[in-house]
């Protein structure tokens, strides 16, 4: 019974973690411009994140050490430092987007300008990280984030042509109004959003925080498979809602506030309330995860004591690092950067750094010294290798496509 509960709650957390600001913005923009024709990318990203999150969770469960710690030891300090710098950069840009997302959710509910909400949002994140237990924090925001199911309900309420959806998945067409390069830019951005590195660091560090042992390997696998699959389905629904509500009207999504129109059109006030709660929960949950993930990465690389199971005074540098990162990100939000553009940047930079995150995971998951008999099987390795090629292609193409298409303009 305890295991069933653990899987259920873990699944909820995975759903919340997957459908964050990057997914919310990119799926709405994609659906509004490309209809269903990029859904296949989300399917690809969902399989990829399941594969690698399961590996990262297995590494943490068996070695009792999170991914960053093992990476540094296995790959070496120099490569580890390169990985750390890239991770820090991606995490900070992602955190800027998530903080802005929470503040905009408050603005939508209150009409008070979102800049005024930023200090309060940062304070709330700080209090939750400082005071609330890991499991409670993870689950409360995971459950609240489930209100994003409103996108799935709205999609079916809007009466999609499922044959057309299926045809678009298996034989995608670039819309005549869009350039091929822009299509691939969005494909890469969606892929980057789906496989954002912080998700894996958080997932594996969470396994250590919750003191998983070999008996929890089923929980690890169940959480990764079901949680990310449901998260992926929600993201697909968001594309579907945008394709039905925005595309025929020639509406492009340039502001987070527009995203509320999809569920509101399909479901009225209930849809609007659900999407507002979901927007808050998923961006706030993701902000917690990114902040913690940044603290984990730094502390694990430098060998500092870390974790929410320790009192702040016992893990002072871990907590201080998170405070600095939070203040830095909040400062960047207040420079009046466009939250949607920052989100796009975050997902593109995520795409750029994907191999740095996932190659060490693949290497360590094959190391008998850490994994014993539970190294990757042939199927996991074959699929992992195929994904590694995709990740490298994505990484190489991300910046040139961003420049060439002027960020998909």
């Amino acid at each position: 019974m305890k295991k069933v509960l653990a899987i259920t709650l873990g699944i909820l957390s995975a759903i919340g973690g997957f459908f964050d600001m990057g997914e919310i913005v990119m799926t709405a923009e994609t659906g509004a411009r490309f209809g269903y024709s990029l859904i296949w990318v989300l399917i690809l990203a969902t399989i990829g994140i399941i594969l690698y999150a399961e590996m990262a969770g297995r590494i943490a469960t068996l070695s009792k050490r999170p991914v960053f710690d093992v990476v540094r030891e296995r790959i070496g300090a120099r490569f580890g430092m390169f990985n750390l710098i890239a991770t820090m950069f991606i995490n900070i840009v992602t955190l800027v987007a998530e903080i802005a997302g929470v503040a905009i959710a408050f603005q939508l509910a209150s009409r008070i300008n979102y800049y005024l909400w930023v200090p309060l949002v940062v304070l709330l994140i700080f209090i939750v990280i400082w005071k609330v237990q890991f499991e409670l924090m993870e689950r409360v925001f995971g459950i609240l984030g489930l209100t994003m199911i409103v996108f799935a309900v709205a999609f079916f309420k809007l009466g999609p042509d499922l044959t057309h959806v299926a045809k678009s998945i298996f034989g995608p067409d670039v819309p005549k109004t869009e350039a091929l390069a822009t299509y691939w830019y969005f494909a890469i951005a969606l892929f980057g959003a789906g496989m954002t590195p912080y998700e894996v660091f958080f997932f594996s560090s969470g396994a250590v925080e919750e003191e998983w042992g070999p008996d929890d390997l089923a929980v690890n696998k169940g959480t990764a498979i079901v949680g990310f699959t449901v998260g992926g389905l929600l993201a697909i629904s968001s594309i579907g809602v945008a394709a039905i509500v925005f595309l025929p009207r020639g509406i492009s999504v340039d502001e987070l506030a527009q995203i509320t129109l999809g569920p509101a059109t399909a479901l009225g006030t209930i849809g609007l309330i659900a999407v507002l709660i979901g927007l808050f929960a998923s961006t706030f949950g993701a902000a917690l995860e990114v902040t913690l993930s940044t603290g984990y990465a730094l502390a694990q690389y430098f060998g500092w004591p870390w974790g929410k199971r320790l009192k702040p005074r016992e893990a002072a540098r871990f907590h201080l690092a998170m405070i600095i990162v939070l203040l830095l990100a909040a400062g960047l939000v207040l420079t009046s950067v466009d939250p949607v553009k920052v989100t796009e940047l975050a997902v593109v930079f995520s795409a750029l750094g994907l191999p740095l995150t996932y190659l060490p995971v693949l290497i360590v998951a094959n190391d008998h010294e850490y994994m014993g008999d539970l190294v990757n099987g042939k199927f996991s390795n074959a699929l992992g290798s195929v994904y590694m090629v995709l990740l490298i292609i994505t990484s190489v193409a991300a910046i040139p496509l961003m420049i060439w298409t002027r960020m998909g303009a």
């Binding site: 009409r111 020639g250 509406i251 527009q258 509320t260 129109l261 006030t269």
Partner: protein, 148 residues
């Protein structure tokens, strides 16, 4: 030596002066800028129409809808400003410029009025204030089709 210094100073002054003015575009570049201005403007108008229609249909609470429309008002203002700063390359395109700016200005005024009425809680008045905005959207779309 002094004349060389003067020449360098003149070149720097010219460089600064040229940086302060919008570049003159070729005819095809200008036509592309017309399309680039119209596409987001049509998106803005359609967002406002959708927002107000759904607000009335579902009796939605007004805070988020007000933010949506305020954001769209800012967007169309920015689009108008950017387009207005671009110099048409010949007299024939002056007319297009005037026509597009006229339509954008009308749309911006109507959206601003809708936002004001919505903020006062008068959804019906907000909808009335965008009467005819659909025609503006269509007219802009026609121009975009002509030049794309």
């Amino acid at each position: 030596m002094r004349s060389q210094v003067k020449l360098v100073a003149l070149l720097i002054a010219v460089a600064f002066a040229s940086a302060c003015t919008a570049p003159t575009l070729t005819e095809s570049q200008y036509k592309a800028s017309v399309v680039n201005a119209i596409e987001p403007a049509v998106s803005t108008i359609e967002t406002v129409r959708l927002t107000l229609a759904q607000t009335e249909r579902h009796n939605l609470f007004l805070n988020p809808m007000d933010i949506v429309i305020g954001g769209q008002e800012d967007s169309i203002g920015a689009v108008t400003g950017t387009f207005a700063s671009v110099q048409p390359p010949n007299a024939a395109l002056d007319e297009v410029r005037t026509q597009v700016l006229d339509l954008l200005g009308q749309a911006e005024d109507q959206i601003a009025e809708a936002r004001i009425q919505l903020r006062r809680g008068r959804v019906g008045e907000a909808i009335k204030s965008i009467d005819g905005i659909e025609d503006i959207s269509k007219a802009l779309d026609e121009i975009a089709k002509r030049y794309s």
